[in-house]
Structures are given as C-alpha cells and as structure tokens.
C-alpha cells in the first residue's frame, strides 16, 4: 500500500464514523422531538375532551 492509500483509509474511516454518529444523533433528536410534539398535541386534545360536556364516558351513559 502507498502512503496515499493509508491516508485515504484514515480520512475515510474518520468521515464515515463521525458522519454515521451525526446522522444517528440528529435522526434520534428528530424522532423524539416529533414524538414529544405528538404527545403534547394528544395531551392538549385530552384536556379539551375533559372540558367538553359529552365525553366518551358520557356517551356510555
């Protein structure tokens, strides 16, 4: 192997590993943020339902 090949291997490995980690962190952040946003929306909907006179329990009665 030439020195250039070792250099390419080193830079390629570093770029690959750092890139993969960055993608994993950003994707996880986006998924969790969306999930928390969805939960917040659901919680908001629940609180609206709780204030509404006809809720699911009322419908059963």
């Amino acid at each position: 192997m030439t020195h250039a090949a070792y250099v390419a291997a080193g830079y390629g490995l570093t770029a690959g590993a750092v890139g993969a980690y960055v993608i994993w962190v950003l994707r996880r952040e986006r998924v969790l943020s969306a999930r928390m946003g969805g939960n917040a929306a659901a919680a908001g909907a629940d609180s609206v339902a709780a204030r509404t006179p006809v809720d699911s329990a009322g419908a059963d009665r």
């Binding site: 080193g10 960055v22 996880r28």
Partner: protein, 255 residues
C-alpha cells in the same frame, strides 16, 4: 437549578445552528490544509497527514470529552450541585469521547503501519490508551444498567472519576517509560512555548484542533438534547403505563 438548567438545554437552537455552520466551515478548511496545502514530511512522507486527525481526536477524547465527563460527574456527586443535567452532560460527553478515542486508536494504527511497520504494539502509550477505552466502554455499560436512575447515575459518576485516573498516566507514559511513541510536541512543560511543530504544519494542526473542538461542542448540544428528550419520553411512558394499569385495575374491580 435542576429544572431551569434542563429546560435551558431545549433553548438556543439558533446558536447551535451557527455553531454547526462554523464547524462545517472549519472542517472544510482543515481538510484543505491537511490534504492539499500542507507539505509531506521529510521522513514520514504523506502519512504525516494522518496526524492532523490523530492528534485532534486524541485531544477531543482524552482531555476534552473525558475531562468534561469527570467534571460533570463530580458536580453530580457533590450534593450542593447535584442535577440530572450533570448526569446527562457526563453521559453525552463520554459517548462522544469513546467514539473519538476509537478513532484515535484506529487512525494511529493506520499511521503506525507505514511508519513503524506494525499495526499495533504493546507500547506504554498505546496500552494505557486501550485500557482507557475499555474503562469508558464499561462506564457506558454501567449507564445502561436498569434500576433506580439516581443510583445508576451515582454509580456511573464514580466509575467516570475512577476511569479518568488513566488520563494523566497516558499523558506521562512517554516520559516515564521507554516508549516507541514520540513525546508530546506541544502539550509539555518544556515545549509549550517552543513547540516542535511549526510553520504550515503547525497551522494545520492548530486549525484541526479548533475544528474538532467546535465539532465536540456542536455534538454535545445535540446529544444532551437527545438525552433530555429520552428522559422526558421515558417519564411519559412510565406515567402512561401507570394510567393504563390503574384503568385495568378499575375495570377488574367492576367485574
């Protein structure tokens, strides 16, 4: 400070984006300097370009990441400063540190093959660094042990502080023992004001260290935010499970 500090993690999105842009710019300048502008070294040839990765990743992992992990762990263990934020900071920093310590070892090994003729040797510097890698992998494993989060965080903080004892040993290993690894070029008492790397090579190394330091800061912002979201999501999952169990119990009571 607990609640305010953790909520502070969620703010500052604009600053993080600016930090990300600065990191990308500095990384591009580093690659340009390291691969195009900087000359080959008279003995090492082109493989010297690997040192513009090896040294900054070592700085990032050994001193910056594990230093922050140790400081945050100490702040968590100290009753007056105990906060979940410090535990999250310690965990995030250690995870980044392990990634970059792995890269330090791997890139060092790739550099060693054309320069020393071997991929690996049980040299004091290399061996103590490998021990540190295992120690912080153990730290990350301790963090995943199920149980009371407070107890797990306390145990992890103790392991982090114990593991950090190896860092000064690594730093001094090239001075205390017969080592194939060269002594420090910059971070040494006698060489701090008279660095052994100058000119374009010194500039490239300096720019690379700054770029990797910015990368660490940017990664920390995102990783701590992820840790905070995971903690909140975990708490919500627990609350939802408790509500479901209560509902099941009430249904069973009616029957």
């Amino acid at each position: 400070m607990t609640r305010t500090s953790v909520e502070g993690v969620e703010r500052g999105g604009g600053m993080v984006r600016v930090l990300g842009a600065a990191t990308a710019l500095m990384m591009a300048v580093t690659v340009l300097l390291a691969l195009v502008v900087s000359p080959a070294e008279i003995n090492q040839g082109d493989s010297v370009r690997l040192l513009y990765l090896h040294v900054p990743t070592a700085w990032l992992a050994l001193y910056l990441s594990f230093g922050v992990t140790s400081l945050a762990s100490a702040l968590y263990l100290w009753p007056r400063t105990r906060s979940r934020l410090w535990d999250m900071v310690a965990g995030a920093s250690a995870e980044i540190g392990v990634l970059f310590l792995g890269l330090t070892l791997a890139v060092g090994s790739i550099w060693g093959r054309p320069t020393w003729g071997v991929w690996w040797t049980w040299d004091p510097r290399l061996t103590t660094t490998a021990v540190l890698m295992v120690a912080y992998l153990g730290y990350l494993a301790v963090r995943t042990v199920p149980g009371d989060p407070e107890v797990t965080a306390r145990r992890a903080a103790v392991v982090a502080l114990a593991a950090f004892v190896d860092v000064p040993l690594i730093h001094q290993s090239v001075e205390w023992w017969r080592s194939q690894h060269q002594p420090a070029s910059i971070l040494d008492d006698s060489r701090l004001l008279d660095p052994q790397i100058t000119g374009l090579m010194g500039l490239t190394l300096l720019v690379s260290v700054v770029a990797f330091t910015l990368l660490y800061a940017w990664l920390m912002c995102h990783r701590v935010r992820v840790a905070n979201l995971e903690r909140t999501a975990g708490g919500e999952d627990l609350a939802r499970a408790m509500v479901e169990r209560h509902a099941e119990a009430e249904t069973a009571g009616r029957l």
